[in-house]
């Protein structure tokens, strides 16, 4: 296994915690987020998120200045809360800390409760400690989701719905999961549901907080659901775990349903929990996927790939590549994760044995290893364009962020239909690659060299 013994990070492969927190909060209906810290962090994250989703992203900041940093930022935070309420009138406010607030040791929970009492505020204000130095955006997403559920899920009255808790996947993926649930006639609570808030239809007049998101009342009753299906298998301290420990809601964890096996597992689970049958139409989708996999298998087999990004996404893309004979040679993530290494090592891997897994890594390493391994396709977020520019490795974009293309927020890859869509993108990239140099290659190989 390859280790990274170095101090400098050259071209980061991850973002920081609060960014993931912002996206999670966007999954609550009529919510607004406030970053406690310096102004710049908020602006940078807004820019990043806005460019991926092509949506206005309003995130407030307590805009800590020098004074606030020396004497504490309480005053700024209170003023910020006042102003957020004045302008946005939200039903829920999320407060995320940045490195700065954590470093100076702000007690946001105390400030928050005093604020709520003194102003007589009844809407939930949810805090989540998310120092950027403490983890990546992936951990920020999970941690914030956990805090939201911990804070809001108080009602344990039983009902007939199931919880479906998602990691940071595309808005199209969220809608696809809902479609599958609806096709199976399963009542559900999907959380955090940012499928509309971060991909909102054009409409007049403009709304400062877009419609959509999981209803607060729904999050409140997650403790009374029949079961929780948690999509994502890399993290332990998850909202689903909380619901299990606190309310005895049975927890089932599955990988992101990309690929045949993962989608099968997801649907099988739904069927087992609810007893509802899988409708014919979904079976047709499955058949179509297999048909497509067969059509493409020979083209796919030449694929030698690097997979990078969020641990959850990386894992499911990895298994999908394995199913299709696309050789995974390098698995990389900016997050620190022992779990991903174990998961991948535990896979029966008939394709190759020189697979390398690196965590807490950067793109300079990913490039170096990819070149050593003669990778011919990379799969991950758009920062991988660096691999294309420097190493000539074509990139199939998936995950977060996708900053240099339109539609990155609605790339569909879950379910049978999504998988096929995603697989076609990979196969076509391999084909394009081949045809680009095919005539020349053959000429060099069999004419000139003979």
């Amino acid at each position: 296994m390859y280790e990274t013994y170095k101090s400098v990070n050259e071209n980061p492969c991850n973002m920081c915690m609060p960014l993931g927190g912002i996206i999670a909060f966007r999954g609550i209906e009529k919510s607004m987020v406030l970053l406690h810290g310096s102004q710049g962090c908020a602006t940078y994250m807004r820019r990043h998120i806005a460019e991926h989703y092509h949506e206005p992203i309003d995130v407030a900041s307590s805009s800590l200045n020098e004074k606030g940093t020396v004497y504490g930022g309480e005053k700024n935070l209170i003023k910020a809360l006042d102003n957020v309420i004045r302008v946005y009138n939200p039903n829920c406010i999320g407060i995320l800390t940045t490195c700065l607030a954590e470093t100076i040791g702000e007690d946001i929970d105390r400030i928050k409760s005093e604020y709520k009492t003194s102003r007589n505020i009844s809407i939930p204000i949810i805090t989540a400690p998310t120092p950027g130095y403490g983890g990546t955006h992936s951990e920020g997403f999970v941690k914030t989701s956990y805090r939201i559920v911990e804070e809001l899920s108080t009602d344990k009255e039983r009902h007939d719905r199931i919880n479906v808790i998602v990691p940071n996947i595309s808005t199209a993926d969220l809608r696809e999961i809902k479609r599958l649930l609806e096709l199976m006639k399963i009542p559900y609570i999907l959380f955090p549901d940012y499928s509309d808030t971060l991909d909102s239809p054009f409409n007049f007049p403009y709304k400062k907080i877009p419609d959509g998101g999981t209803k607060i009342s729904d999050i409140m009753s997650m403790g009374g659901s029949i079961a929780t299906i948690e999509i994502g298998i890399n993290y332990e301290e998850t909202p689903g775990k909380y619901l299990q420990d606190r309310f005895d809601v049975p927890l089932y964890k599955v990988p992101i349903p990309i690929g045949l096996r993962n989608t099968d597992a997801f649907l099988k689970l739904l069927k087992e929990i609810t007893g509802n049958p899988i409708p014919k139409s979904i079976e047709m989708e499955r058949g179509r996927l297999i048909d497509g996999m067969i059509d493409s298998h020979k083209y796919n087999f030449v694929g030698r790939c690097t997979i990078f990004g969020d641990p959850e996404m990386v894992y499911s893309v990895f298994t999908t590549c394995m199913e299709n004979g696309i050789h995974p040679l390098l698995i990389a993530t900016g997050s620190k994760t022992q779990k991903l290494k174990e998961l991948i090592a535990s896979e029966d891997n008939p394709l190759n044995d020189d697979i390398t897994i690196v965590d807490e890594t950067d793109f300079s390493h990913i490039l170096k290893l990819s070149e050593e391994k003669e990778v011919n396709i990379a799969i991950g977020p758009s920062d991988g364009k660096y691999l294309t520019e420097k190493g000539g490795i074509p990139l199939v974009r998936i995950g977060f962020p996708i900053l240099d293309r339109v539609g990155g927020q609605r790339i569909l890859s879950v379910g049978y239909t999504g998988t096929l869509n995603f697989l076609d993108m990979i196969t076509n990239t391999l084909l394009e690659n081949k045809y680009k140099t095919y005539r020349k290659d053959m000429y060099e190989k069999y004419y000139k060299a003979m």
Partner: protein
């Protein structure tokens, strides 16, 4: 029209030309907490200024985010090294925050030297580096000595002001660096061009003009510049400053330290470009230069005018809003929109200075709303009330504009076409036309999102 706002404290940052002549108006101060300011931080300002120095390593001393979000996000072009397009970070973790990050920083510099052997490394301070009290200066000094290269600290801790403070920090670092070089003998017809970051090749266009006028450009601050070109700066007889917000300070310092006078110029729009070129030629008071300048202006104007006139026919009478980083840029944009027959009805900046706002008020039409450090909700309110058809702004404003059904001009550092000079004026007109006259607006203006 009322200027009532949801956040009363913000009312001091806004006024309307004509109506509020005597009204209190403040700018260049801290953002109001929770107002959703569009501003960035000191580090961001410093990075803007220094980033285009191509063969330098730009190392961000702080937690990873600050470096992640700024990796290769600006469209500065290089004719040489591409080293500047990498994002180096000391990636401070929790333990570094507790025990200090100096040692890690020093190791980072070692590793960078080992791999790239650069002559110049900029080390940017961030909020966290500032708060934990790392002595970046000392580390830089030591590394400089160790490798016999220039490791220059940039005091850009994010919370000690706004972007403008970052410009200043960067200028100080540049000055410190240049002071270490031998001062050269002045060359008569030579110039430094300050405040152009060569976005989409803008500095190349202007450099081309200056060369055609018979002038030699020693150093561009900092578009397409490098370690060697920075050394030549002291040989110039004149500094011209385009992005006034970021570089006037450096120009003043150059005047003090190296006795090189400066003038502010603008190359946005035909009018500004021609005036600026004439002003430069007049400074040198050289017959040949003046003749060449007039010839250039004539030729270029002849080329650009008819194209712009063509677009003007479609654009006349439309209304625009402006929200950009600096005041000087806003002023140029007002003129550029006017060249297209477009009235500007809302003007805001993130970091405009007092004198710039005075100038804006002077040239704006009556009733124009002027705002400092505006937030999305204020932009929305005034664009609706003033009936703006087009907004010129940065990335974050783009999506607000689109969601409101308003055309948009990208005035950010990531743009992919140059907006400077005559060529830029054409591009600008073309972009305004492209966005304002697109057929898509037909579908959004009336009866939105209804099938029948």
């Amino acid at each position: 029209m009322e200027l009532r706002l949801d956040i009363p404290e913000r009312e001091k940052f806004i006024k309307m030309k004509g109506k509020h002549h005597k009204k209190e108006f403040i700018c260049n101060t801290d953002s109001v907490a929770g107002s959703v300011s569009q501003r960035a931080c000191v580090y961001s300002g410093a990075r803007v200024v220094l980033n285009p120095i191509e063969d330098a390593v730009h190392l961000v001393h702080g937690p990873i985010g600050c470096a992640s979000y700024t990796w290769d996000i600006r469209g500065s072009l290089s004719s040489g090294s591409e080293l500047f397009r990498n994002s180096f970070s000391s990636d401070l973790k929790e333990s570094d925050v507790i025990f200090g990050g100096e040692e890690k920083l020093s190791k980072c510099i070692d590793e960078i030297y080992e791999k790239y052997k650069p002559k110049l490394i900029f080390v940017y301070s961030t909020c966290i580096a500032g708060v934990i009290g790392d002595d970046i200066k000392a580390v830089c000094k030591e590394s400089s000595k160790k490798y016999n290269i220039y490791v220059v600290p940039v005091e850009s801790s994010g919370f000690v002001g706004n972007k403008a403070a970052g410009y200043k920090a960067a200028c100080n670092s540049l000055l410190d660096l240049i002071k270490e070089f031998p001062v050269l003998k002045k060359e008569p017809l030579s110039i430094n061009y300050m405040g152009d970051f060569n976005l989409a090749g803008e500095a190349w266009i202007i450099k081309g003009y200056l060369n055609q006028m018979g002038l030699k450009v020693n150093t561009i601050f900092t578009g397409d510049s490098n370690f060697e070109s920075l050394k030549k700066a002291t040989a110039s007889s004149l500094n011209i400053v385009q992005c006034a917000g970021s570089m006037t300070y450096l120009a003043k310092k150059f005047e003090e330290t190296f006795d090189i006078p400066y003038m502010k110029v603008s190359f946005l729009g035909i009018e500004d470009t021609s005036n600026s070129l004439r002003k430069i030629a007049a400074f040198f008071n050289d017959k040949d230069v003046m003749l060449k300048t007039e010839k250039l202006i004539e030729e270029k104007t002849k080329m650009a005018k008819p194209i712009i006139e063509k677009y003007k026919r479609y654009l006349k009478g439309k209304k625009a809003a402006i929200f950009v980083g600096g005041g000087f840029k806003a002023i140029s944009l007002i003129k550029q929109f006017r060249e297209l027959g477009i009235d500007v009805v809302v003007i805001g900046t993130q970091n405009g200075q007092k004198d710039e706002y005075e100038k804006i008020e002077e040239i704006a039409d009556y009733g124009t709303v002027i705002l400092d450090d505006a937030n999305p909700s204020e932009l929305e309110k005034f664009m609706v009330e003033k009936g703006a058809d087009i907004l010129a702004g940065g990335v974050k404003e783009r999506f607000l504009s689109y969601k409101m059904g308003i055309a948009f001009i990208d005035h950010n550092h990531d743009r992919k076409h140059p907006l400077s000079g005559y060529e830029g004026a054409i591009n600008f007109a073309e972009e305004v036309y492209t966005t304002a006259c697109s057929p898509v607006w037909k579908y959004v203006k009336d009866g939105v999102n209804k099938c029948v």
